[in-house]
């Protein structure tokens, strides 16, 4: 088991099992040719809840045949989702286009830290250095690690093909009064 998976599992203890993860990705923008999303949409049943705005976030390209790169997203519960991606797209847009539960409150402009991910150390050094602006936002990320990055600032490339990133668990800061 990789370090990364262990991290995912360790932080998962305070999360309830996730259901209907993919229901939320049912809104498909016309320029998005992602068949897996259609499949998820048809599986989700009559009550459809649209969570992701593809108009806003779905700026992903279809990889050319033979040039498909892959990204693996590891959820806080340890489950993994391997998706295909095109070079040049960022890891936040790729996640959202594939129904991975990742928020990007600022729309991918490096102005919040909601798309914070932990990068598998095996890939971390292959990435371009974070900018000062990204580092400033990482200051505010919850559960910052040595290999933390913002997904919206990492562009897919051949160099990092196969990259694995873990989404940190959403937990609540313990407050002093919780110990009373």
């Amino acid at each position: 088991m990789s370090i990364l998976t262990k991290t995912g599992l360790r932080v998962a203890y305070n999360l309830r099992p996730r259901m209907n993860t993919y229901i939320s990705a049912a809104r498909v923008h016309s320029n998005l040719h992602d068949l897996t999303m259609f499949r998820h949409a048809s599986l989700s049943g009559a009550k459809m809840f649209h969570s992701y705005s593809m108009l806003q976030h779905g700026h992903v390209h279809k990889p050319k045949p033979g040039e498909e790169l892959t990204v693996t997203y590891i959820s806080p519960d340890g489950s993994q989702q391997k998706v295909e991606a095109a070079a040049g797209d960022n890891l936040m847009d790729i996640a959202q286009a594939n129904g991975v539960e990742m928020e990007g409150a600022c729309g991918g402009s490096c102005a919040c830290s909601t798309c914070h991910v932990i990068v598998d150390p095996a890939y971390f050094d292959l990435l371009d250095e974070p900018t000062d602006e990204e580092n400033d936002m990482l200051d505010l990320a919850f559960g910052l690690t040595e290999t933390s990055r913002l997904a919206c600032q990492m562009k897919m490339s051949k160099k990092i093909d196969g990259i694995r990133v873990a989404l940190p668990a959403m937990t609540r800061n313990l407050q002093a009064r919780d110990f009373k």
């Binding site: 999360l15 809840f49 649209h50 806003q56 928020e103 600022c106 490096c110 919040c112 830290s113 909601t114």
Partner: protein, 457 residues
Amino acid sequence: MRLAVVGSGPAAFYTVIRALQKVPSLNVTIFEKGFAPFGLVRTGVAPDHPEVKSCQERFTQLIDDNPKQINYLGNVEIGKDISLKQLSDQYNAVLIATGAQGNRQLGIENNTAGKPLRGVVPARNFVNWYNGVHDGALFDPSLLNARKATIIGNGNVALDIVRVLLSPLQRWKDIEFCDLGSSVYDGISKSKIEHIDVVGRRGLFQSAFTNKEFRELLNLVPMLPVDPKSELDVEPITRIDKKKIKLINGISTGLFDNELLKSNKKSFQFKFHRVPVKFHGDERVTAVEYTYNGKRVVEETDLVFTSIGYMGTSAEGYDSVGAQFDVKTGTLLRNPETGIVEGTANIFASGWAATGSSGAIAATMRDAFVEGDLIADYLQKHNDTTAIEDNEKQQESPINDNINTQDAVSTLEQGNKRIITWNDWKKLDHEEIRRGEIVGKSREKFETKEQALEYLK
């Protein structure tokens, strides 16, 4: 299953987003006191930070995409128009996401005669003003005739105020999607303020501003040396503090070399370890008296912003539902296991109403997601409450044909209150954007509820 939500800021929306992911059949009614939604995203985030406001699009899309499930009712005040008790009785669960509505007090705001001094302004009043919230006229822009201003407190709100008041005016033309109001630009361009002291009770590493805001400010406004200088001798340990020092050292090593900054004749300065004990002045403030290094010092100023934090206030109706409110922290007390507000049966809380006023949107989102999970757990456990289900079937809503109404809402609708529905808001929104286009901005906001209601007539 029905969820009533009080407030429509990021805490409200992110909680709803999460609860809906877990309970896709959930019906949600959002009650907003003001004429516009989105809370501090609209009224707190500075006009030159449009990227932080991007989440508004996500929130808008949520309601646009789910019109049958989410009913938005603006200009409805819980505690006046509908009681919290009614919501608690008529909905399966209630979420309080009202933020922190009050100000933490220094306790020295009044002069010796016990009257408030002119020129001592809670930061919130000024933030509201520059964000186009002009209801009640809580900030008088003629106060900007001051030469020197002092901000007590050194969080991001303090840095926002410095940036808004001391940035080269060109900034407001440079920022794409800026939504600074025309009347506000007018007020700022007439400001005489040349220097601002940013005063902290403790030291540099105890100050709450973030490096992102600091870096941005250092690129816009010249900073005078930190006072006292010895503050820079303290060894930084954390990543954040190391970067703070690096940024300060960068001033002399050319890290912030740009024409806009060079042309800016204004300045700001951090002053640390000063505990304000008294404001001087008869009618208008003339100086602040501090204890500093065990001594009393008096420093002159023409305008003071108190920026020591927002604070939640106990709201109308908390007692009637038994909600436990901590007066000291200004927060609703939640059960850490269930997320339910202590003392209540079905009331939840998220965001600053529960956590207190600290943290940016990411922190609020995290809190909201946890609360959304807990609400979903609660609803799934209690989905056999037949009484409410029966009530649901009774009648159709006059507000939105697709959503069955609750008694409280239908009573309200039959009264004189002008509810601002989601469609009304969309009209206001489009008009704001249209007016903004004329002047080359993302929007020109309605400044008062009266203006908004007048437009909707």
